[in-house]
């Protein structure tokens, strides 16, 4: 890396002692580039074996990469921590202004340890970390309000990120999220609860420094190449026009769209909640992350009349995406768009992970249907497919931890189904609730083997669709190999912190060229080696914390509901998991 590049600076913050300091870790960035690679190594260093995810020893690590602030679509921050939801590797990515703000504040990574005794928020401006009393913000019902208060109190508008938690995080719900810039999230695996356990309401970081490049001419030329590809590609047009919600109809047609807790894989009313329908009737604004010309973030304008007063309306801007329409729409059998949007809004208000919440509600609906839940524990809420007012009541009770039943729901579907039964239809993998693709064996193998049990780990849903289009059937070993290859490459993208939507633009040659201008002189072989090492380091952490692929539960439901991209059998998945495990393990010692 270049001399004088502040990427090497790791800001350490100790919440217990209320101190901060900076360490030069050029060694880490040179070895692992940034983002996921550096964060994984810092997690090994900072998180003691067996640490309580909600204890002071669990670190919050945020890392960005060398291309941030230099190139478009290098716009993500990688968070790593020990997950309170799975008790293992926690990794979650978010955009907004987070990556640019951290990089231009002069840091490559931030490590937050310890716990405060009273609520605080952190403000990092001009190279100083300030510890600010957040007692008055703690417990505020809406995370929107907390965001507004901090926005008005702090400097750096346009150059800052404001990461905050809602009530769910304060109350340590293990699938609570951290929200940044109102509509982007470190959604999965419970970073919100880790913030909450540290009494950390928010983290504000601002910065606008300049960044050096090795060769001005090459920098501008490479920039133009990437920028042109970004603004003119079909893929980018797709994400700008309808956004990820544009996938609802294709997935439905493919019969890969989980519906009513995956009793079915297509939804008869998908048209009503499609990306097309939302765009036509509700789309009010599109927004972008910092330094991303695409603008994939879609906000619906929900105009609601007052129940009490004529001609009195309120309009709320509510962010929707494919995964939310899946988890809170089709999975709940809901086709009433305004109900869906209200539910999304309530989840934003409390700061829950929308995907886990949807899967939890879907399981609860089916469990009630089957009479597994004693009526006295439901506190009068009867969940039924598509009944949004009932779902909203359930969310209030989950956040309030109203009864034994809602406390169990607040822990996730693995926990709830272990207590009440219905494990066969509890849709979670490695403790993390299922993403929205039932496309075939590769999707499910991806959820099982992916280091964070996310569809984004290795894009299994895409592999299924490709196999289907090509008329091919992959055997377990081939499937495992293809996913492993993809997951390794994505370690590079998430170490550069390039948005995965730009994976078609940031191919190897472009990555190497861009890195060159940022002072990283790497070869294709280097990228291959680094990618293998990073994934191996993540798996080493998982194993250290007790993870084994052999222990994973495979929900019966995914084997029963037919998937178009090939039948999913337990035998197939177990064989493929074994292949995957062997291949990763063989690289662990070398890393």
């Amino acid at each position: 890396m270049q001399n004088g590049d502040t990427l090497c600076n790791v800001l350490h913050i100790d919440l217990a002692k209320r101190t901060s300091w900076v360490e030069d870790r050029a060694d880490l960035f040179e070895k692992y580039i940034g983002g996921a690679g550096v964060a994984a190594e810092l997690l090994h260093e900072e998180c003691p074996k067996g640490a309580d995810p909600l204890g002071p020893d669990n670190p919050i690590i945020l890392a960005v990469g060398p291309l941030v602030g230099l190139y478009p679509l290098a716009s993500k921050t990688v968070a790593m921590f020990k997950s309170p939801h799975t008790g293992n590797l926690g990794e979650s990515h978010a955009g907004g202004r987070s990556a640019v703000a951290i990089r231009l504040a002069g840091y490559g990574a931030i490590v937050i340890k310890g716990a405060s005794t009273s609520p605080i928020y952190l403000a990092v401006h001009g190279g100083k970390a300030q510890f600010k009393d957040a007692s008055a913000l703690w417990g505020i019902r809406s995370s929107y309000t907390a965001g507004r208060v901090i926005r008005e109190r702090e400097s750096g508008a346009g150059h800052r990120t404001i990461m905050r938690i809602g009530r769910a995080g304060e109350r340590l719900l293990p699938y609570s999220c951290v929200t940044t810039e109102t509509y982007r999230h470190f959604g999965r695996l419970g970073l919100g609860a880790v913030f909450g356990s540290k009494k950390l309401k928010a983290l504000v970081v601002s910065g606008n420094r300049s960044l050096p490049v090795t060769d001005k001419k090459a920098y501008r030329a490479t920039y133009e190449e990437i920028y042109e590809a970004a603004v003119h590609s079909e893929l980018m047009k797709k994400y700008h026009d309808l956004g990820t919600a544009g996938n609802i109809l294709p997935l439905n047609k493919l019969q890969g769209l989980p519906t009513r807790n995956l009793k079915a894989a297509s939804f008869e009313k998908a048209d009503a909640i499609s990306g097309e329908a939302l765009a036509e009737h509700y789309l009010g604004r599109r927004i972008a992350c910092s330094h991303c010309p695409v603008g994939c973030i879609h906000l619906a304008a929900l105009r609601e009349p007052s129940e009490h007063e004529p001609y009195f309306y309120k309009t709320s801007m509510i962010c929707y995406d494919y995964e939310l329409i899946y988890a809170l729409g089709t999975l709940l059998g809901g086709s009433d768009v305004s109900g869906l949007l209200r539910l999304i809004d309530l989840i934003e208000t409390y700061g829950l992970d929308a995907m886990s919440t949807g899967v939890v509600l879907a399981w609860a609906t089916e469990a009630m249907e089957q009479g597994l839940i004693p009526e006295k524990e439901t506190s009068g809420v009867a969940l039924a497919w598509g009944d949004y007012p009932a779902y909203m009541q359930a969310i209030e009770r989950i956040v309030d931890q109203a009864t034994e039943f809602y406390r169990a729901l607040g822990m996730g579907v693995d926990h709830a189904s272990a207590k009440y039964g219905g494990e066969e239809f509890a849709l979670a993998f490695g403790g993390n609730e299922m993403p929205g693709y039932h496309t075939g064996p590769a999707a499910h193998l991806n959820y099982l083997t992916g280091a964070r049990h996310s569809h984004l780990d290795s894009g299994g849903y895409s592999l299924d669709q490709k196999a289907l289009a090509d008329g091919k059937t992959l055997d377990p070993k081939e499937t495992a190999e293809a996913l492993l290859k993809e997951e390794r490459w994505r370690q590079i993208l998430s170490s550069l912190v390039v948005c995965f939507f730009a994976r078609g633009i940031y191919k190897e040659a472009v990555v190497l060229k861009a890195l060159q201008t940022a002072g990283f002189d790497l070869s294709e072989e280097d990228l291959a080696r680094i990618s293998t090492q990073i994934l191996a380091r993540k798996y080493a952490f998982k194993r250290r914390e007790g993870f084994s692929l052999d222990d994973l539960r495979i929900p019966q439901r995914i084997l029963e509901t037919p998937a178009r991209g090939g039948a999913v059998s337990e035998e197939f998945l177990r064989q493929a998991m074994a292949s995957f495990g062997e291949a990763v393990e063989s690289t662990e010692d070398a890393s």
């Binding site: 965001g147 300049s210 501008r220 599109r286």
Partner: protein, 141 residues
């Protein structure tokens, strides 16, 4: 004819800040330190964005407060900066009611828009444009 950078429709702005990065890149580096254009939310991202550019005033307030005449009138409106003369006092920043005189912390000098239009070329959603400007018309806009 003189040219001037103009905000055509800030309601189209998605807040990507490509314009800010373009401005800095034109000077051969990355980051945002000396950007001469600024995009921030209009009080929360749900309300859209404010795009702040120099409007090339015919009678610039920034110029009038400079104690050392480091800001000179630019043909077509606005000002040009003589960095060697500039003391770095920052009065110009305070004087501009639009907030369009930015401050380059690293240089400790104002960052003054030269109306080159490079940002407009990199606005993906037609928020910005470099306009030809009639001398007679520019007083009103």
């Amino acid at each position: 004819m003189a040219k001037r950078l103009s905000v055509i429709d800030s309601e189209r702005c998605v807040g990507c800040q490509s314009c800010m990065f373009a401005c800095v890149r034109r000077h051969g580096h990355g980051g945002l330190a000396d950007a001469r254009i600024h995009v921030r939310s209009a009080g929360g991202i749900e309300r859209g964005f404010v795009v702040i550019v120099c409007r090339a005033c015919p009678d610039p307030q920034c110029m009038k407060v400079c104690p050392v005449d480091a800001l000179k009138p630019r043909k077509g409106g606005g000002v040009t900066l003589d960095p060697e003369a500039c003391l770095g006092c920052g009065l110009c920043v305070e004087a501009c009611p639009l907030g369009a005189v930015f401050w380059d912390e690293e240089a400790n000098k104002p960052a003054i828009c030269v109306h080159c239009g490079f940002c407009a070329e990199h606005c993906p959603h037609a928020v910005l444009a470099l306009e030809e400007r009639e001398e007679a018309a520019h007083a009103e806009r």
